[in-house]
Amino acid sequence: MSNLTFQEAVVAGIAEEMDRDLRVFHLGQDIGPVYNGAMHSAKGLGERFGPARIIETPISEGAMMGAGIGAAIGGMRPIVQIMFAEFLGLTVTPLACDAAAMWYKSDGQTCVPLVVRVLFGAGPHRGHSEDYQAWVASTPGIKVVMPSCPRDAKGLMKAAIRDNNPVVFFEHMGIYHGSRQEVPDEDHVIPLGKADIKRQGTDVTLVATALMVQQALKAAEQLQQQGISVEVIDPRTIVPMDVDTVLSAVARTRRLVVISETWKTGDPLSDLAATVAEELGGDAPLRIARAGLQNTPRPFAMPLTRAAMPGVQTIVETVRRVMEPK
């Protein structure tokens, strides 16, 4: 076990995989030993693996993505860092239109083992917080990972690197250099597509990702005091979504709360909520409530940024809503 931050856990996972598999390499802007990547997202990798495997590029996200896809076709296992999720739009054309379709459309002639790293989320970095997760999650063939803690971050990164499909790996800036956690040193791989129940509960099933998981756990504490028992499920992988775990949970509680840091339209968790309504809706009572990012561009000033996204208070209120009879 080591006591790591989210950032340290991600980098540790990458380093272990680069040791294990010489085909794995990292490509991005300013990820070398001089700058170590935005927010130290590649800390130490340049020094340790050198310029042949930690490759710096000009500012050209589209070509960087194409380079990752092509290198994967050519037999390597690239990790491409697109500094911020905000820049994903520059890369979706090669990633979503071509790479995501290659395994299926080529009928198995090629796979694209590619990891795409992006920073996102409201945090110390005052800007670049947009996630645009719908842009990658809405296209079949791309897996999307969004961890909420250091332990998951390392295990999921290792799984993403070993996966044979394009995987977009979201790293939340609000928890990046935050609280540490004991993370296994030995080979610790968390399969993509498996949710984790972060807290047991009997009254309400709450689903959230990344920073919202940490907020939800705080809210659950408060609600416990008020006699409401909240189960917190972290899908960890947004695509593929572990629908079964959520369905069996809500089948028990009959109450689903979805908390998201992104906009509701296009949010993969909205699709999850719709699926729950389809599968479990009928004559038996079923309550669903969602809270997400205010339906505007993200405002900048700190008080506005905070008020525009769900906080502990909003989460508590949303849970109380599904507890009231209707």
Partner: protein, 324 residues
């Protein structure tokens, strides 16, 4: 001398085959034929090794894939969406090619993607240190996309073994080159990337072949990418039904006089490498081969619904290793 004759004969044979293929495919709806541009295709992809990769321009793509070993019948089946295609009908085979022949096509309809992806394949061959190269081609209209700029600049910075060949064929759909490109040439753009930019007569298959092979040698030697600007002309319409009435008669006439097939033929005759009878024989056989392949493909069955998947959306562990 003999061996040079043999090369010329091979080049001629492929141009003749390409011409017949494009000519017959024009009769199918929605195809984007490349009559008049066969020399660029053949010159670009002739003489590569099997480990090399190609990412050809969508126009002329079938000929390119065939040069890599793909069967014409199955390629045409791909255009028609038949079960016998290399993807079993999953992808449009007019622009998307069988990767198992180290041949990258368009997995979507978006121009530019093959340029950046081919650049990445070049990165992998460089990292693996196996001296493999990538030859990719695209139209002059596509050279106005950001993907052109970013890809070539990245290849230049990392000294990647990639050769970029432009089909400078005068038009992008109905848009004339001089409307969309104000620079003196596409080759000029290489100056912005610090790599060689070479202009070549795209209707002279030998000239294209030599220019590309020089660039390939450079790439294999680790000296980085080259941009080749092959001047040619789109005799076909943009697609089967396009009458390309927008091409001025004189312009068209002038280019018809420079027909790449006639030129390589004349060269062979003047060298005495082939005589009229041999040429007539070759062209007859080519017509037969293409006609037969297309007829077969047309009679091939449509895919059954089990081809739909969708259980194989992802490449699951293990599979990836075996996949090409």
């Amino acid at each position: 001398m003999i061996s040079e004759d043999n090369t010329l004969i091979s080049l001629y044979y492929l141009v003749a085959k390409g011409r017949e293929l494009e000519r017959q495919m024009t009769k199918l709806p929605g195809f984007h034929p490349g009559v008049g541009e066969e020399a660029v295709v053949v010159g670009s992809f002739f003489g590569l090794s099997d480990d090399d990769y190609i990412a050809p321009h969508y126009r002329g793509a079938l000929l390119a894939a065939h040069m890599r070993g793909a069967e014409i019948r199955r390629l045409v089946a791909g255009v028609l969406g038949k079960a016998t295609s290399y993807s079993r009908g999953r992808v449009r085979g007019d622009i998307c090619l069988p990767l198992k022949f180290n041949t990258l096509g368009m997995f979507s309809g978006v121009l530019g993607n093959p340029m950046s992806i081919a650049t990445g394949i070049g990165l992998s061959t460089k990292m693996k240190g196996n001296k493999g190269v990538v030859v990719t081609s695209f139209g002059e209209g596509t050279s106005n996309l950001g993907a052109f700029h970013e890809s070539i600049n990245l290849a230049a910075c990392l000294a990647l073994p990639v050769v970029y060949v432009c089909h400078n064929n005068g038009y992008a759909m109905s848009t004339r080159t001089e409307y969309a490109i104000k620079g003196a040439s596409v080759a000029n753009r290489a100056l912005g990337y610090g790599i060689p930019g070479v202009q070549v007569d795209g209707n002279d298959v030998v000239a294209v072949h030599q220019a590309v092979q020089m660039a390939v040698a450079r790439a294999r030697a680790g000296e980085g990418p080259t941009l080749i600007d092959a001047l040619t002309y789109r005799i076909s319409g943009h697609y089967s039904a396009d009458a390309n009435s927008y091409q001025p008669a004189e312009e068209r006439e002038a280019w018809l006089k420079k027909d790449p097939l006639d030129r390589i033929k004349a060269r062979l005759l003047s060298r005495g490498a082939l005589n009229e009878i041999q040429i007539a024989e070759i062209e007859r056989s080519v017509v037969e081969e293409i006609s037969a392949a297309i007829a077969e493909a047309q009679n091939d069955p449509d895919p059954d619904l089990d081809v739909l998947g969708p259980d194989d959306l992802y490449c699951n562990d293990g599979l990836g290793e075996n996949a090409k």
